[in-house]
Amino acid sequence: MTVAHVHPQQPAGVSTETYATVAVGRTASTGAAGGRRRRVRRDWSGWWFVGPFMLVFGLVFVAPLVYAMYLSFFRETLMGGNSFVGLENYAQALVDPKFWEAMGRVSIFLLVQVPIMLGLALFAALALDSARLRWVPFYRLSIFLPYAVPGVVAVMIWGYMYGSQFGLVADLNRFFGVELPSPLSENLILLSIGNIVTWEFVGYNMLIFFSALKAVPQELYEAAEIDGAGTFRTIFSIKLPSIRGALVIATIFSVIGSFQLFNEPSILQTIAPNSITTYFTPNLYAFNLSFAGSQFNYAAAIAIVSGVITMVVAYLVQLAGEKKEKA
């Protein structure tokens, strides 16, 4: 709607399209004349270019955020109606043991799963880049393939394999005559989810690293070879420093992904309802609060608090990455 009012001096009766064209034409000639009048008449035609973007951006990015914030200041109850409660929802969230248990769980997940996943992805990327492998496109595609499997399907496949009475685990038990602990039990479920997420995203991260490695200039390798550097020396002195940016980006994506963990526990809940609580991860907690408990307002506060924590952690990772780059 703002688009229509961008140009305050638009004459009546002139179609928007022609006027925009004329306006742009005039800008061009003014520029050629030396731009003396630029200060006097502010030109708004730039808005015609960013306008559509801003509109969509406002609609799909800003508006939901603002609405969530707005919601979080109220409390609507089943019996009492709606009332403004200020920051009460936030105060409650900050001392909510369920919320912090969920935060703690994704933090552990972050600290354990992300290094393993990125380590594997890096190893795969370096291996593919080493020029010692045959069939590189085949390996690249194979490792990447799980990422192309829809998340829901992936979790269902793994859910089936994890089954300790009729799944793959059961078959292993029978074949080897052992009693493996059930991956879907309360104690192991987080590990099992970590395994699924690693399987899903190693390929994606590998591709980021691999493409960054491909951009390293060949001259550097030649120089290193002349200096007598071996494979590992090349990796640590040339390859890794060159793809530091990609490493930082991948880490930030993974940090955000960890805090937003939702799909995997949500789907596994249908086959292991007793192992995954309604507050297993912050996102799952917010989801259940709003859709099962009708606590939309508190859910909004939880979502915003966990969003802020995610941003802070992601920013710290970025700072750490930049600092090392300078050093």
Binding site: T16, E17, T21, T77, F166, E186, N274, N288, G293
Partner: protein, 443 residues
């Protein structure tokens, strides 16, 4: 050349901008307030006029039912929207009510969620449309379920008086030749089955819906609602009786941890690893033939504590008209058609009836199910309907209660904790939630 390019982009920008505006305007139009319901309660007159009724459902059979009704009322067109399960319907309905628009005209509602939706003003009171006159046609327990807070909020659809469907062969392999009639006998059978085959279990540990029905059948009445006042006592005599019994089975490792309806659960049934389903009678004709060859399964009455038949409702649903419907009279008219005669027969084709006449119909009672090797299994369901313990109430926020069940009781069922302690934990959560939501719980 350069200027041409600039001009082209400007034109494009303007066009896109105008397009975006147009979208905004259109969106604004659709947001306009919908025409309100006429307020007429004359259902016959309403069905004379052309009307389109939206009907949300989770059942595959609804489309066929709607087509059949359209033949009787040619002016009525149905827009049937199938959602994945009852929970999805409740969630979507609650969202539509909250948004102020988007709710259907007709919606099926599980008996256990009726109080919750009534409280949220999601359902229309059907009394003004004359549906109250059908009271005598329905069983006391289902009629009781659709009367919430002095309103008639739904027409009973199917019902679910509990029965025991058991794997005869599996029981016999363990040396149990007769279906257990008491819970003591059930315990003996449970131990025997697990001893005969360590991978076989008499039952799975169950979910919230199962657990509340079992409490009901054991005489417990943990939830009481009177207006804003709610009482929750998950340690009353009946509740404790069942929790103690189920804890013993759990401690002995005799219960399977598989989630009901999961793939593994299905496999367990088909591979003779799961002996018993304690479920609503809708399961009698609910496709047991998918889980095994003819004659594997038999239907038996629920075991009892003291030899006196005692049962509960498990599942089942009514059909309601939403408060947002613009065609309440027409929708209520359709419900009237479904209340008796041909319309009722349509509903009964898929589910266990809730109408007295059908439950007493000799033809239906004596029907010999080939799948249960010609057992007239409906008789057992009908007897169960008569022994449903009266007085049960669900919480006005049962949906939430069932959702958080897994956090406390479910956890104990999964990892073998103390069920009574877990029930108290569940109770604490429910008391806190209720008080936060403006009820007066346990005060």
């Amino acid at each position: 050349m350069e200027r041409n390019t600039t001009r082209r982009w400007a034109r494009l920008g303007a066009a896109v901008g105008t397009g975006a505006l147009l979208v905004g305007v259109l969106a604004g139009c659709s947001g306009a307030a919908p025409g309100a319901d006429s307020g007429s309660t004359d259902t016959d007159a309403a069905l004379e006029e052309d009307v389109t009724l939206t009907w949300w459902t989770w059942s595959d059979a609804t489309q066929d039912q709607a087509d059949a009704i359209s033949k009787v009322y040619p002016n009525v067109t149905f827009d049937v929207v199938k959602l994945e399960n009852p929970d999805a319907v409740v969630t979507k309905l609650q969202n539509a009510i909250k948004a102020g628009k988007g709710a259907p005209d007709i919606v099926p509602v599980e008996y256990q969620t009726l109080p919750q939706l009534t409280l949220g003003d999601a359902l229309a009171d059907l009394t003004p449309y004359g549906l109250g006159e059908y009271e005598e046609a329905f069983t006391a327990s289902t009629w009781n379920s659709v009367n919430v807070q002095d309103q008639l909020v739904a027409l009973p659809g199917d019902s679910g008086p509990m029965v025991m469907i058991y794997n005869k062969a599996l029981y016999e392999k363990a040396g149990i030749t007769e279906a257990p009639t008491t819970w003591d006998e059930f315990a003996v059978a449970s131990a025997a089955i697990h001893a005969a085959d360590p991978e076989a279990y008499i039952a799975n540990s169950g979910d919230a819906g199962f657990f509340t029905s079992m409490i009901w059948a054991s005489g417990g009445q943990p939830f009481k609602t009177d207006g804003e006042n709610v009482t929750i006592d998950l340690q009353d005599e009946g509740t404790k009786k069942f929790a103690d019994f189920w804890s013993e089975r759990l401690d002995a490792g005799e219960l399977s941890g598989l989630a009901t309806w999961s793939d593994e659960w299905t496999k367990a049934l088909t591979q003779d690893k799961l002996g018993t389903l304690l479920m609503g009678s809708w399961m009698i004709s609910g496709g047991m033939e998918d889980y095994g060859p003819v004659g594997r399964f038999k239907v038996a009455p629920m075991p009892t504590w003291d030899g006196e038949p005692a049962s509960a409702e498990n599942g089942g649903s009514g059909i309601a008209v939403t408060s947002q419907s613009e065609n309440k009279a027409a929708a209520a008219g359709i419900l009237k058609y479904l209340a008796e005669g041909e319309g009722r027969a349509l509903l009964n084709a898929n589910g266990f009836p809730s109408t007295v006449a059908d439950l007493e119909n000799p033809e239906w009672l004596d029907y010999e199910f080939p799948g249960y090797s010609n057992q007239p299994a409906n008789q057992i369901g009908a007897a169960s309907a008569e022994s449903v313990i009266p007085g049960w109430q669900y919480l006005p926020y049962q949906g939430y209660a069932n959702n958080v069940f897994s956090d406390s009781v479910g956890k104990a069922l999964g990892s073998g904790g103390d069920l009574n302690e877990a029930l108290l934990e569940w109770q604490d959560t429910l008391v806190q939630f209720g008080n936060e939501q403006g009820f007066s719980v346990n005060k």
